[in-house]
């Protein structure tokens, strides 16, 4: 078995520890960025929803400012965003390279995307449900948690699936500028050193991860939709 692998993918086998580290780094970035973005993206998505015109906490100023900030960061291509955020990344993380340097730009790139996704999931909630809850004496906080979030769980899962998959793309991109992870590994050895087997293995691994996330997402959506 080992010999077959040595034959088939020699360039992976001769730097296995580094390869495992790249995969581990990838999952650390995916996990931390995913979790932080989920929290802040949901928060901003909720704020956008409830402050829009005619909603439970209508507030033109907050809606406008938050909306513009989100659009600004969504408008900047991610590769440029990484450099643009460089000085701030250095202040926050102490460095702009490696795993630590990658997290901040990843979050800034992901949160606005997820926030808009959450916003559109919440927009699916029928106004009548909000009205019925108000008529039952629910407070704005209760409406946010018990109606908006609870009733759009399938939509939020769908948004999470889409965001995680697009986050995989961003993580490989930070790899290109020294961020570590599978992308970094693939570019450094697969592309720059022309070790094609490295490229192939990395692509297969990314493919597996993407398929798994989509599959799990689909199952969860099915289970939560009534």
């Amino acid at each position: 078995m080992l010999e077959v692998l040595n034959d088939l993918i020699p360039n992976i086998m001769n730097k296995l520890p580094e390869f495992w580290q790249a995969i581990l780094d990838f999952f650390i970035m995916l996990g931390i960025t995913g979790a932080v973005s989920f929290i802040f993206g949901t928060l901003f998505g909720v704020i956008l929803t409830v402050t829009r015109r005619g909603d439970i906490l209508e507030n033109k100023v907050i809606y406008f400012i938050l909306g513009k900030i989100i659009d600004l960061f969504r408008a900047i291509p991610f590769v440029i965003l990484i450099f643009f955020l460089g000085p701030m990344t250095r202040i926050i993380a102490g460095t702009t390279i490696g795993l630590r340097g990658a997290l901040f730009p990843l979050m800034v790139g992901t949160i606005p995307f997820f926030a808009r996704q959450v916003e559109s999931a919440l927009a699916e909630i029928d106004r009548g449900l909000i009205e019925a809850s108000q008529a039952m004496g629910s407070s704005p906080m209760e409406i946010i948690f018990r109606v908006y979030l609870k009733e759009s769980i399938p939509g939020i899962i769908r948004a999470t699936t889409i965001t995680l998959i697009s986050l995989i793309g961003l993580i490989t991109m930070v790899g290109a500028v020294g961020g570590g992870g599978i992308g970094d590994f693939a570019i450094r050895y697969g592309y720059n050193s022309m070790q094609n087997d490295v490229t192939y293995v990395c692509v297969i691994i990314l493919l597996l991860i993407t398929t798994t996330i989509q599959g799990v997402g689909n199952i969860l959506i099915r289970k939560t939709t009534h």
């Binding site: 029928d126 009548g128 449900l129 009205e131 019925a132 809850s133 108000q134 008529a135 039952m136 004496g137 629910s138 407070s139 209760e142 018990r146 109606v147 609870k150 009733e151 769980i153 399938p154 939560t224 009534h226």
Partner: protein, 344 residues
């Protein structure tokens, strides 16, 4: 008692101010079923939302018993709203929750223990006759069943008032009947005041004690249902009443020259309108006997409203011209409205 004093609601839209409700004064007594009818756009939905302040009136006061809702803070208002149930045209049930969980929704924070809550929900499910649907999701229910769940949910906090916003408008006639029956039962058994808005006079006729007719944001006619049906004043009211009967068909039939309306010489085609008082007299037999007028009933439409019959008969009178004149005068004396549609 619900009291609206000079309630107005104006929406400022991009195309200018829209006066949805104008200067409405209403008093709704405890325990009655009060109907508000109007064509769409008449402002009735806005008016009913002014009662629980889902729409805050631009002007005027809303009182429930001796509390002025329009003066309350949002927080105090939320407590009051728990005692005002509301149901909607499109039911507004939570799709991710079962029937049981939907009814449990308003009970959160009510201080009931799990057992008490369970008991309460079970008895509500029995009241609305859905004991076996406890674990179903709304998507598995029919429209009528959804509205029953919504009614159970609205009653969970033992409200004094139930507001119904076009609650039967999305249902077929048979289901409408069963929902109205349930509402009537809720009103009688639990003594809950019901405010019901609709665009169907048949709904008003079926269960309301009193009715207000709305047009262009104003209440243009109001009163006891029997009075309004017997002696409608406003044109809109008459139009609404006409929708509940097919008697106006006769005018078309006369125009079209239908065979049914063909008269022999000396005959009169006459429409008789009865109200609650004179239906008990045997007027038709009296005029045949005393005035020698032959009476042939072509068709009729008699309604039972609040246990009193009222309606119209279309008849052909035959006999001597003078006798017919006398018979008509006699009927008019007995408060029957007589309209001669055609003579020959």
């Amino acid at each position: 008692m619900i009291r609206l004093e000079h309630v107005s609601k104006t929406f400022d839209t991009v195309s200018g101010d829209v006066h949805a409700v104008k200067e409405v004064n209403l008093e709704i007594q405890d325990g009655e079923i009060f109907g508000i009818i109007g064509f769409s756009g008449a402002g009735k939905s806005t008016l009913v939302r002014c009662i629980n302040l889902l729409e805050r009136p631009s002007n005027g006061k809303v009182w429930i018993d001796d509390e002025e809702l329009t003066k309350m803070s949002e927080k105090a208002l939320r407590e009051v709203r728990k005692k005002i149930g509301m149901i909607f045209q499109h039911f507004n049930l939570m799709r991710s929750r079962t029937v049981y969980q939907n009814i449990a929704f308003p009970l959160k924070g009510s201080g009931l223990s799990k057992e008490e809550m369970d008991k309460k929900i079970t008895s509500l499910l029995e009241l609305v006759d859905l004991g076996d649907k406890k674990d179903a999701y709304p998507s598995q229910l029919s429209g009528g069943q959804k509205q029953r769940v919504a009614i159970a949910r609205a009653l969970a906090n033992d409200p004094k008032v139930l507001l119904c916003d076009e609650a039967t408008s999305a249902l077929d006639p048979q289901t409408t009947k069963s929902i109205l029956k349930l509402l009537k039962q809720v009103n009688e058994k639990l003594g809950i005041t019901i405010v019901l808005i609709t665009h169907e006079m048949a709904v008003i006729k079926e269960i309301c004690d009193r009715v207000a007719v709305m047009e262009k944001g104003k209440v243009i006619e109001e009163g006891n249902i029997l009075e309004v049906f017997c002696k409608p004043q406003a044109k809109v009211t008459k139009d609404f009443i006409a929708t509940t009967s097919n008697i106006s068909r006769i005018y078309e039939m006369v125009d079209e020259g239908s065979a049914l309306t063909e008269l022999k010489p000396g005959q009169h085609l006459v429409k008789l309108n009865y109200d609650a008082v004179n239906t008990s007299k045997a007027l038709i037999s009296e005029i045949s006997r005393d005035f020698h007028v032959d009476t042939n009933i072509i068709f009729g439409n008699v309604e039972i409203i609040k246990d009193s019959p009222l309606g119209d008969l279309v008849v052909i009178f035959g006999g001597q011209k003078e006798d017919i004149q006398n018979a008509i005068a006699y009927m008019e004396k007995h408060d029957v409205k007589v309209e001669v549609l055609k003579e020959c």
